[in-house]
Every structure is written in structure tokens, then in C-alpha cells.
Symmetry: C2
Subunit: 409 residues, 2 copies
């Protein structure tokens, strides 16, 4: 499909062949690009989409050539759960959970990786690289493993959760475990990737990642019969997932598939709330940096790379940002699991923590239909929970077990 690239800051328009990543005038931090379509050219109808099919069912709304490369693993088509009992308890009209823990590598990031791999293939690259807090990395490694014509090189903070590191290694990627923060891993990856001439799957820098990430929003719309929620909440690190959600609804609105765009609410960890701070200061949005410190490793970002877009889009939607403590995140994680059977990693639990906070302070209430996006599977990082749950073995003896049960039930 034909499309252009537009700078989120200065509005300059480029042909896709003209620039690879960001606006040359505004630089990589402020000059991230949007993919702009000519919506009049796009012919789609509600009937052609299914609540179960993978993300490439939206190919007519993706910036891909006719014969694009599609990874063999099934990405997207994740479930949207409706929990009326929880809605009642919270005091909202309806409560839904989009669960992306069942993607091939168990996170939302697979949507972006699938698109980046299609693009790398189209452009003829042989190596693709990424810096990541962990999920984008294991996602790129996994989807590249299923793609014989591409190799991947992955930069992560060496202290990323073990399961994510093991995923990257077992998928056969070249892993560069950086002795430092995600922000440091990001910066060094850019230097090396540039020098080596590799394709970048770095958040925000590559405008197509967001186009992959938008498919989660499109699925929500289809799964709700095109009556979108009033609010959609999601955890925010770099700001690309939240921007992608807005863009997904926006594109669907522009082609007439939905009648309105939900208000998008970004939820950040208190210890890594740079996007919220920028948003709260107001326009013109100016990036700030901080030292990130949160248990939710996937959103532990101090130098958010897509902050301008994440602020502009949320503002355009009528939404806002809220922050939650690590304690609230873990409580939310336990509640999601024990009351709904939804196992989310800490970053994926943040939006539920945010929702609880907003309901308590009556910013959201009984008229509101609310969806949260759970971006990663709880199996990806069990460290915080391990500390909470102490296991004391019981001998296989009837009396001892009965005693134990009396104490625990």
C-alpha cells in the first residue's frame, strides 16, 4: 500500500525511500516518524475481519508491499476477555482484558517484530538488531529464528529477567548482555547497528514497529463488534505500544470502521514516569530523562524514545497518564491472576493497578467501559512473586497433610 512518513515534531513529509528511521532535521529523539496513509484509497468492510485471526488480517491497513514476508508463527489474534463480575466489583460498566501473553514469545512485542521482519525482508537486510528491556529482544529472537533469511543481534541489560535471556539464547540470536541500564543498551546498540549496517528494530526509531503494535487495538475493535471501549489502559515505557494503540483506533476511525476513538490512558511505574511528567508539563512536549527504577522491567525506561508521539496521541484521544507504585503493580498482578486467571508480568499488570487507582479517585466510574492491555505473560518474570510466596514442603503423610490444610485454607 502507498504511504508517506511524517515527522511527529516538525511535520515534514518524506517518501519511504527517502529516510530509513527518523527525521534528519529533528533528530532521533524528537523526530520519530508516523506512517501516513491516503485513507481514501483504502477499501475495507467490517465483515472481512474475524475476532480470532492473526494480525495480518489487517494487511490492507499495514504499510506493506503486495508480496510481503509473513513470519510462520501466529502473531496476534489474542483473546479479549470480558469479566462482568470484576466490572461490578470495580464499579465500572464493563471491564475487558486484552491478553497478549499468548503470542508466540508471550508478549505484545511480537506484533512489532513481525512487522519489522517483513520490512527487513522487503529492504533486503540480512541482520536485524534491537535493544530491549527483554520482551522486544526475545520476540525478535524468536520470530527471527523462524525466518531463515535473517539473523538477529540483541542488546539487553545483563540484569534482565532470566527467562527472557534464556529465550533469546535458545532462539539462537547473538546476545550482547550490556553491563548497564536499558537506556545504555539502547544507545550502544544504535552506534553498533549503524556501523555494521544492520536493520534496526529499536523502539520509536523504526516507524514500522508502531504499525505492528496498532493491530492490538484493531483486534479490540473487531472483538467488540466495532463498539470500542470508552477507555483503554496500557503500561508505558518508551511510549510505542501506547502510540500504536491510538494509531490502530485512529486508522480504523479514518476508514470508517469505528465511529469514535477510545480515550487512551498510559500507566507508568512511579520510578520510571518520564512520559507522564512530560505529558503533565503540557505542550510543546519536551523529552526529559530520569534514572529508571521499578520492578516492572518491561517499562523500566528512563529515557523514553517515543515520548513526543506518546504524549501527542494520548492528548488527541482525550486521555491522560497516571503512575502507580511497585507495590500496587504486584497487588494488581496477584488480583488479575487470582480473580481472573490472567497471569501478567509486572508491566502487564500496571494498567490494572492504574485502573483501580482511577476508580478509587472516581475519575472512572459506573458509566465507563474499560479495557486494559496485558502486554506480557507472567512466566516471563517471576522474581517479585517468588519473594512473596514461601513454600514449605509437607511429607506425603495423611495426617500431616490434613494438618497443613487446616492451617492454609
Amino acid at each position: 500500500m502507498s504511504y508517506k512518513l511524517r515527522c511527529i515534531s516538525c511535520g515534514a513529509i518524506y517518501d519511504p525511500d527517502e529516510v530509513e528511521y527518523t527525521c534528519p532535521k529533528c533528530g532521533p529523539r524528537k523526530g520519530t516518524l508516523e506512517v501516513v496513509f491516503n485513507y481514501d484509497e483504502i477499501r475495507v468492510s467490517r465483515e472481512e475481519f474475524s475476532p480470532e485471526r492473526d494480525m495480518f488480517q489487517f494487511e490492507k491497513l499495514l504499510p506493506l508491499p503486495k508480496n510481503y514476508y509473513k513470519v510462520p508463527l501466529r502473531v496476534g489474534g489474542t483473546p479479549l476477555y470480558d469479566f462482568p463480575r470484576v466490572a461490578e466489583k470495580l464499579g465500572v460498566n464493563r471491564f475487558l482484558v486484552k491478553y497478549d501473553g499468548v503470542n508466540p514469545t508471550a508478549s505484545y512485542k511480537d506484533r512489532a517484530s513481525a512487522l519489522a521482519i517483513a520490512k527487513a525482508t522487503e529492504k533486503g537486510y540480512e541482520t536485524i538488531y534491537a535493544a530491549s528491556t527483554g520482551n522486544a529482544a526475545s520476540s525478535l529472537a524468536g520470530l527471527t529464528a523462524s525466518t531463515p533469511h535473517l539473523k538477529s543481534v540483541i542488546f539487553v541489560p545483563a540484569k534482565a529477567p532470566r527467562p527472557k535471556i534464556v529465550q533469546i539464547k535458545v532462539f539462537g540470536a547473538t546476545l550482547v548482555p550490556i553491563d548497564g541500564s536499558y537506556d545504555q543498551a539502547f544507545d550502544i546498540s544504535m552506534k553498533i547497528g549503524d556501523k555494521m549496517g544492520w536493520y534496526s528494530r529499536n523502539s520509536a526509531i523504526n516507524p514500522y514497529l508502531l504499525e505492528g503494535k496498532k493491530t492490538g487495538a484493531m483486534e479490540i475493535a473487531v472483538q467488540m463488534g466495532y463498539k470500542v471501549p470508552d477507555y483503554v489502559l496500557v503500561g508505558v515505557g518508551d511510549g510505542t505500544v501506547i502510540s500504536g494503540l491510538y494509531k490502530g483506533f485512529y486508522d480504523m476511525y479514518k476508514v470508517g470502521l469505528i465511529d469514535e476513538i477510545p480515550k487512551i490512558i498510559g500507566v507508568q511505574a512511579e520510578g520510571a514516569d518520564a512520559v507522564k511528567r512530560v505529558f503533565d508539563k503540557g505542550e510543546p512536549f519536551e523529552p526529559i530523562d530520569m534514572e529508571a527504577n521499578t520492578i516492572a522491567d518491561s517499562i523500566s525506561v528512563g529515557k523514553p524514545r517515543d515520548v513526543i508521539k506518546a504524549c501527542k496521541y494520548v492528548k488527541a484521544s482525550g486521555g491522560f497518564y497516571v503512575s502507580v507504585s511497585d507495590e500496587e503493580i504486584i497487588d494488581a498482578q496477584i488480583e488479575l491472576a487470582s480473580e481472573m486467571g490472567v497471569f501478567a508480568e509486572p508491566a502487564g499488570s500496571a494498567p490494572y493497578a492504574g485502573l483501580k487507582k482511577l476508580v478509587e479517585s472516581r475519575r472512572l466510574g459506573k458509566d465507563d467501559t474499560v479495557a486494559i492491555v496485558v502486554t506480557g505473560n507472567g512466566l516471563k518474570d517471576i522474581r517479585a512473586l517468588e519473594k512473596r510466596f514461601e513454600i514449605v514442603p509437607v511429607p506425603p503423610d495423611e495426617e500431616k497433610v490434613l494438618e497443613y490444610l487446616q492451617k492454609s485454607v
Copy 2:
């Protein structure tokens, strides 16, 4: 739907109201029950099934009442992947992977839990219990969490992988971590469950688990356009998953949806190959016990509970059993991940190890279409891989990183 229960050993037929678990004459070890339908009563057509919908699309072929309880989480509808490049490398006609790592709690066991929960609800129980090597436990805990009218009590060996234990705890189940083997946890759970009057979701004992597990086979048939593979391989512990696979194809064959039943091949770990031993000794199949010792915790079973069925069904299909070493299992795990992007836990990798062995010894070859069933997500047990992959952090310095890359690529 109306159905009867039949003893796998003596063939006695019971009404579902007459017996709860096993044949009173043959006892719990040899007297496991089969669900028997009157196939003439069942009206189904190929057109009504989809390659993407959840397991309850097969409700007409499940022993459930009209208004059965369906867990709110999406179980089944997992992808079947086709890897022509791997088929070529292996030297088989076609190679497919049924990936059940994307079920709600990341294992095949969710299919059985969903059915057990429907049955517990139908029968009016308030508590359901299970003994498990880990996956059935976390599955029951997770699906029960989404089911407010049921509580779960879970018996596992205390040395089960941490991620599985954490899942059980975070889902809010009552966990009884037994200081002993799975086989000991199983035996003590039966005593306690019986005493307390809880519903049993114990492998083999409960005839309905297999009916849930059969839906994986039915999905394979639908996903292949009703042209089933020549061989289906799966890892075997207690023997219920493999029996379920056979039953799924058998039911579809009996109602005319498919024209033949694939040969079913069971793959066991060398250190826990009791079913294979019983099978190889031949009929009449006599259960044996052994001390289980394998890295593949989900199939680390020394006292298999569904051994008679697992032998009879495999024999009826024209299949057989093969065993593989732990080393071969881990190699298979790495190959599945690095060449296909499929992350399987050790037990889920066993069938691929078995396939490689059978191809090497030319028991399977170029005319054969082969599917393997990956029963659990690799994130559920990363211990073996952690030992293989050593991580040495690199400073965020351009020269140091380039040096590191030269050594690792």
C-alpha cells in the same frame, strides 16, 4: 449428549451416574474408564469447524449437558505450524508442530482442566483437586481462578519448577507442596480428596480429562483440512494426553469427519519409560512401576496411571513407543527454538527428539507426514537451559562490544 462409561480392562459398561471415576471391579489402576458415545446420534459436518476457534467448538462431540459451564478463558484453538524447510532437512514428506504453549496457562493441560471444571460444575462440587507434576496443577489453578464457584487444592512435588509453583500460588489455589515424588503426591492426594469429598482432576482416574485432551487431535484434523498426518508424536508421562489424541481422531473417524486415524507414537524419557516397557512386553498389558528420573518434569512419572489405555490405543492406531535421553531432549528443545522459533518445555520437546531418532533409524522417512504435539511452553522450566547458556556482561562501550561480537558471531 448421552454417553456411557466403559472399563478399559474388563469392558463393563456403566451409566455416568453409576460411577464417578474408575471401574469398581478392576480398581483405579487397571479400571480407568472410556467415554462411549452412540455415534449414530451425532450429526456434524466438516463445515461447522474452524481452524482458529477454541476447544468448545467441538461441544457436540464432548460428554457435556446442554447448558454446561464454559471457563471464560480461551482454551485450545492453538496454532498448527507447517515447517517445509525442517521437513526437507529431516527427510520427511511434511513436518507440523501443534503448539499448545499458548494456552491460558501455557500447556496442553488446560484442555483437560476446562472439561473437569465443566463436570465439577455439572455435578455441583465446590472444590476440585489435582496431583500433578506441575502443568495440570497450574492449569487447574488458573482456570479455577476464573471460575468463582469453584476452589482448587493442588498437590505437587515440592521440587517442581519454580515458575509452575509460582503460577499455582498466584492463581490463588491452595497448594500442598509434597516432599516427595509426583507418584507420592498422587497417592496422598487421592486419600485426602476422597476423605474431603472433593472432585478429582487426577490424570486417568477422571474419565473426562481425556475428553478434553482429545480436542487437540480434533484441531489438528480441522487445521489440515481433514487430511490427517500419517504419524502424530507426543511426550508420554501418565498416558492420558496420548490416549486423548487417539480418542480425538477415533471420534472424528466414527462420525465420518476423517477417513483414517494417524499412527500415534509415544515418546518417553529413558529415565521414565514405564509405558514403553509395558507396551513392548505386549498384551495383556500389565502396569509396572519404576523410579522416575528425567529432566523433563512433566513426563517424570514412574507409576503411570493411564498405562492400559495408552498401550491399547497406541496399538489400535498402529503406532508404538520410543524413548529418548535427557541430552536428546535438550538438544531437541534448542533445535525447535533456534530453527523454528518454537519454545517448548523439555517434555514438549521430547516428541521432536523421538522423531529425529526415528528418522535416523529410518523407521520414518520421505513418504511420511508427521505432526508433533508440543504440550508446554519453554518458559515453564528454564533450568536445563540456564545451565547451558552462560552470560558474560559486556560494558556499554563501542570497542568492547565490537570485540565481543567478533568472538560470538
